[in-house]
């Protein structure tokens, strides 16, 4: 991945605002956010509802444009790209993991994982090669024996692992996880977090939105959003990572 240019941040956001027009009123979802995420980092984003974290996730995930400000993804300015370009960015450089899994219901685990490869115009693999690649991805999340099951035949934890395999299939720059454990019981949630930890340990950049503090603690840093600005950034020294003193708090000025 971004090992070629170690100094280039995976994500660099500066002065980002997002304003929605709701009827006659303007709603300012983001008020000027600066954010820098290095390659290989695991960052969690927390904040109460209305804090703008969904908006920020949508923009980071290239599902939405910012109203102003810049967003460099792996050094490339994606803040003003047209729709189709954004689709390609989502396809190749971002891997989504959603709270509600968002698997295609009628398709087997294998086919779900193959879908992003089908939308990659630069992927010239044969059908067999794709299947082989997808099977490997499913094996890496421990689902080698479940590849021909449709989502309804899988448990919540298994579905989320299929979603992770799908997110990774095109080797993205970042994995964007939106409440990845929100619909899971504790045990399944821990399994999923173990996989994300493992991915990060192997160098994958992960950005995760959550409202659960213990889940957020899996990340190196937790960014707290409030009223559309970064309220604080907390460096975690979670017991899961490296046992040590409490997290250090860094105050950020609101614009």
């Amino acid at each position: 991945m971004s090992a070629l240019q170690p100094t280039l941040p995976a994500i660099e956001i500066s002065g980002m605002t997002k304003t929605y027009q709701v009827g006659d009123a303007e709603v300012h979802a983001l008020h000027g956010v600066d954010l820098r995420i290095e390659p290989g980092e695991f960052v969690s984003i927390m904040g109460p509802s209305g804090s703008g974290k969904s908006t920020l996730m949508n923009i980071i995930g290239c599902l939405d444009h910012p109203t102003s400000g810049t967003y460099l993804l792996d050094g490339e300015d994606v803040s003003t790209l047209p729709k189709n370009e954004l689709a390609h960015i989502r396809n190749k450089r971002i891997g989504f993991v959603f709270q509600s899994f968002n698997l295609l219901p009628r398709m087997t685990a294998l086919k779900n994982v193959i879908v992003p490869m089908m939308y990659d115009p630069d992927n010239h693999m044969t059908k067999e090669e794709r299947e082989e690649h997808a099977i490997k991805a499913l094996q890496s999340v421990g689902l080698g024996d479940r590849i021909h099951h449709v989502p309804t035949e899988l448990s919540g934890g298994q579905r989320q692992r299929v979603a992770i395999a799908r997110a990774l299939i095109n080797d993205p720059v970042i994995v964007l996880a939106d409440e990845p454990t929100g619909n899971l019981d504790t045990r399944s949630g821990e399994e999923v977090m173990a996989i994300l930890d493992d991915l990060n340990a192997r160098g994958r950049t992960i950005v995760m939105v959550t409202h659960e503090a213990d889940i957020a603690a899996h990340a190196h840093r937790t960014i707290h959003l409030r009223d559309g600005v970064v309220e604080s950034v907390v460096l975690n020294s979670s017991s899961l990572r490296e046992p040590g003193p409490e997290g250090e708090e860094m105050a950020h000025e609101a614009k």
Binding site: L63, A87, R90, N91, K92, L103, L104, P116, D120, R166
Partner: protein, 408 residues
């Protein structure tokens, strides 16, 4: 996305709800089947008409007497006479054959069998070729018979059968009215053409009819009257000019103007035109049925595709989130609409061909499946799919991924 993948994704989308897909296709099925049956029926009717044209004789011109207003001070021309036919053949070079016809009825007797009111058709040697009839056994009349007023007869097949059964009638003498005629030939069966049964009459030299059966003094004075003169033109191309020349020759001989002619000149074309008009009206009606069915089928497709897009908004959002472009989504839903219409088209083709066969075998309607109509039907079905599938597909493509993912 590769086209093959687009198709397989679309196929999976459709087969997820087979009953709905089938019901959606119904309109297209009916439309396509209607196109094929329509073409088959009209082709069948045209084939029947073509056969009738040919059975009348090819490139045939009919000349008949017509009623005219009597012009004071001028003698009646007396209608068509045998010499008119000869004059036409002499003066119009594009006439390659002719036959004249005069008929009467009489009773025919052989042994103890008597047939009443049999049509006695006096004619000339060219009759079989001009009117496209064949002699089954023996021979037809020749010029010699005509010149010598030979007392001979050629029997229609039904007449021969009724008088002689299985016995050979050639050489036997039959009594027609009070005249004895020798049978020299029997015609092949022809059946009923234009309301006349050709097999229940007998043929004799026209000179025999003039002398023995129509001894009208008036007719003898003005010439040998004939009922119809059949002329065979050289080819279809010269028919119009031939007709004009025939009219001029007759008008001069009868001393009448073309506006007030005492004869009519018609072609086979005139005779069958009415029939064709009926066929055309029928074809147009079926054409409208087919067209309306296709439109209704298309609206059905559009309706179901809109429902599909709404129902699968979430799926669309998921696909967008993993990198589907507007084009990918549009193509997927267009492919679904296209498949609905093409599979519907295919079933329609099968039903259409089957329906044509049923029409032909169960009804008395003749049908000929036109290969082109299958292509036309398929093409229309595909066009319907694209036309009515585009709007829903475009709507799907332009969904906002965030909204779509939030759906449900």
């Amino acid at each position: 996305m590769k086209p093959s993948e687009t198709l397989s994704v679309a196929w999976e989308g459709l087969t997820a709800n087979k009953l709905r897909a089938l019901l959606t296709m119904l309109g297209v099925i009916i439309g396509v089947a209607a196109v094929i049956i329509m073409m088959a029926v009209s082709a069948g009717t045209e084939a029947t008409i073509a056969e009738q044209i040919n059975s009348l004789g090819s490139n045939l011109i009919f000349v008949n007497s017509a009623m005219t207003q009597m012009v004071p001070g001028r003698e009646s021309s007396g209608g068509l006479v045998y010499e008119d036919a000869e004059a036409i053949v002499d003066q119009v070079p594009t006439v390659v054959g002719f036959a004249v016809e005069q008929q009467t009825t009489a009773s025919i007797k052989y042994g103890n069998v008597t047939l009443d009111d049999v049509t006695i058709l006096g004619t000339t040697p060219d009759f079989p070729s001009v009117r496209d009839v064949q002699v089954a056994s023996g021979r037809f009349l020749n010029q010699n018979d005509l010149d010598h007023t030979a007392k001979i007869a050629v029997l229609g097949s039904t007449v021969a059968e009724e008088l002689f059964g299985n016995a050979d009638p050639i050489g036997e003498k039959i009594t027609v009215g009070s005249t004895k005629l020798t049978v020299v030939g029997v015609m092949a069966p022809k059946g009923t053409v234009s309301g006349m049964d050709w097999d229940t009459r007998i043929y004799t030299p026209i000179t025999v009819v003039f002398e023995k059966f129509l001894p009208s003094r008036f007719a003898r004075m003005t010439g040998d009257r004939v009922r119809t003169i059949y002329l065979q033109a050289e080819s279809q191309d010269v028919i119009d000019s031939t007709i004009l020349q025939v009219q001029l020759v007759l008008a001069r001989r009868h001393n009448v103007s073309l506006d007030n002619a005492d004869f009519t000149v018609r072609t086979q074309q005139d005779i069958i035109e009415t029939q064709e008009a009926t066929t055309a009206a029928f074809r147009n009606l079926l054409g409208w049925v087919a067209g309306v069915s296709l439109v209704v089928g298309g609206i059905g497709i559009m309706n179901i595709m809109i429902a599909n897009v709404t129902e699968r908004t979430r799926e669309i959002g998921i696909r967008q989130s993993v990198g589907a472009t507007e084009g990918d989504i549009r193509r997927q839903f267009l492919a679904e609409a296209l498949m609905l219409s093409l599979v519907g088209g295919l079933i329609g083709v099968i039903s259409g061909v089957g329906g044509s066969w049923l029409f032909g075998h169960l009804g008395d309607m003749r049908t000929v499946v036109v290969p082109n109509s299958i292509g036309l039907a398929f093409f229309s079905a595909a066009l319907t799919g694209i036309f009515f599938g585009y709007y829903p597909a475009n709507r799907a493509a332009q969904l906002d991924p965030i909204e779509a993912l939030r759906h449900e």
